[in-house]
Symmetry: C2
Subunit: 337 residues, 2 copies
DNA sequence: ATGAAAGCGCTAACAC
DNA sequence: GTGTTAGCGCTTTCAT
């Protein structure tokens, strides 16, 4: 089972490697190779189980048919679902996917980018971290196409795929306000991430639209690495002063709901809750919960499509794709029981 | 920012490519290159931002420094966590990871394997699908090292990393029996998967150890693609005839618990529940639940380490690593409230 | 219609 | 101690 190369086939047929190469790459017609030869080459190639050596090909053409995917954490369900979608779309176009998790750390992201660049990826889909401007510069320096997903990076010109964070957030909070909630607490991450900022802004705008002003003491921006403690402390402070919670993503929501229950605050009888992202865990809750569903599969697909467009025709201008979320209230029936 | 090659550096210094190559690969000492030259080469390389072309390297050495990972579904939390662990370990050893999801479909797995083989991965970690024997044959034919994870494949000789499914299952069921449960229903997948079979056997053995025989009507083996319907139907049948449920993994557990709640069967007051896998969702449950925690991070790490061993020293014999699970009951305090 | 030859950037056996 | 040389397998001018 030694590897069969172009040469083996060429020798077998007494023709040149060129000829075989042309046939194998479907360029036979345009070079007016005779049908008969084409047939023969193809037959022998199949017989011998010829598989082109991708490295030789890549070395020669500079194209690896591999793209990179860098997210904060592949084990987070939002990103793993997106990864799955990207994978499916990529394999469909004969691309292969290298992945890496940055842990929201620009230094780690840089390492990943370097390794991937080393592997000569043809393009990169990245969910940038706070302070990741240098990362982007690095990618730009290498002139490979890249697409930002989930969150934009201020001041960075690039194609981007995300959702209507502000509007979605507005709708969720507005719904809560209209249903009678008057004091809605909001837990969010640090504001450097554009998407998180928009979610916060939506919360504020919804209040304004109802003629209310937000109470700053009901809002907290937690850090990535000390989120659990900060959230718990916040809940200790405001837990009995509010009638609703709006969480900026599923991670926060899960931490908070767990702690609410632990603190004997029933996330239904005592407070209303809503959050960004749908998550399996919410479906096992005996409490209704408003969720903003992100079209994560569509996001991955669009991001990859955009990337391939850029890889294949370098000239294209940057595009921003904003997909729509869907608001739904889960477990309404269940919670009444 | 044109790419710098070995030659550029060699010319700049008026030395040969070989010399530069040796220095860059840390083989200078053993070839008695003078310290001074080493210094100079390194300096210029750094100045010019030299990055070796991995394709040329791979073409020459036949090593891609890339490994493949094929699981059933990367968006499943069990696998995405394992992927994360593998990723971390791999990058630590300068390897890069290509991933793919088989959807438990051997035909899809085959495609993935072919693509990865095409990319000349140095090794493969795979969680095999039912009927995946041909997949393994394909891998073996190409003579690249591979490690099976999570589930063995009957009759296949290979290294394997998994957990003590039978014992873990035994312990969980035994605990339920000892706590007074007498009619424990069991929901599992089809039995072709070795790990699932062991989980079933543990359930049976625990009964035997208590002098009981299992009631076949309380057991169901569902199929992968129609799991939801089959589980719901089963619960409709046995829901009021049992005092406990033991689920073979988190997917099943989540589907079942959701439906139990929907059916007004309180997974605490009315029935006890236990299952394989810990999952975030279980922590939001207002019910105690016994979970068998799999050391998924350790599994990924061990699998990769084993793979690298095999890649680096081809002679090694096959190894089977069985890691221990941990049984825990979640939410006990919460459920009493 | 087909082939010869150059070269992508690197490594390793063998000279000197 | 350092350099020469010969490819790895492929694509792509340019000849014929």
């Amino acid at each position: 089972m030694k590897k069969v190369s172009l040469r083996d086939i060429a020798e077998e047929l007494g023709v040149s490697k060129t000829l075989v190469s042309l046939v194998m790459n479907g360029k036979a017609e345009e070079n007016r190779i005779s049908q008969e030869v084409i047939e023969r080459v193809k037959r022998v190639a199949k017989e011998k189980g010829y598989e082109p050596n991708q490295f030789a090909k890549a070395l020669r053409t500079g194209k690896s048919m591999t793209i990179g995917l860098i997210v904060a954490d592949i084990s987070n369900s939002f990103y793993s679902k997106m990864a799955r979608s990207i994978e499916d779309t990529a394999y469909g176009s004969n691309y292969t996917v290298l992945f890496g998790s940055s842990d929201e750390d620009p230094a780690k992201a840089e390492k990943l980018i370097k390794v991937m660049l080393d592997r000569q990826i043809d393009g990169l889909i990245i969910s940038p971290t706070i302070g990741g401007h240098q990362n982007i510069d690095l990618i730009k320096k290498h002139k490979i196409p890249f697409i930002l997903v989930d969150r934009p990076l201020s001041g960075v010109k690039s194609s981007f795929v995300g959702v209507n964070n502000l509007e979605a957030s507005f709708e969720a909070v507005d719904t809560m306000l209209k249903s009678g909630c008057t004091r809605i607490a909001h837990i969010n991450f640090y504001q450097e991430l554009g998407n998180m900022k928009d979610r916060f802004n939506g919360y504020v705008k919804a209040h304004e639209a109802s003629g209310l002003t937000v109470d700053p003491s009901l809002i907290i921006h937690v850090s990535n690495d000390r989120a659990v403690g900060e959230i718990q402390q916040f809940i200790d402070h405001v837990g009995d002063k509010v009638d609703a919670f709006f969480f900026a993503n599923n991670e926060i929501a899960i931490i908070a709901i767990k702690y609410l229950m632990h603190s004997n605050i029933d996330p239904h009888r005592d407070v209303s809750i809503a959050c960004f992202d749908d998550h399996e865990a919410f479906h096992l809750l005996k409490a209704s919960i408003g969720v903003i569903k992100q079209p994560v599969v569509e996001m991955g697909k669009k991001a990859l499509e955009l990337l391939l467009e850029r890889i294949e025709s370098n000239g294209k201008a940057h595009q921003t794709i904003t997909l729509s979320t869907e608001y739904a209230v889960l477990n309404e029936e269940l919670a009444r029981k």
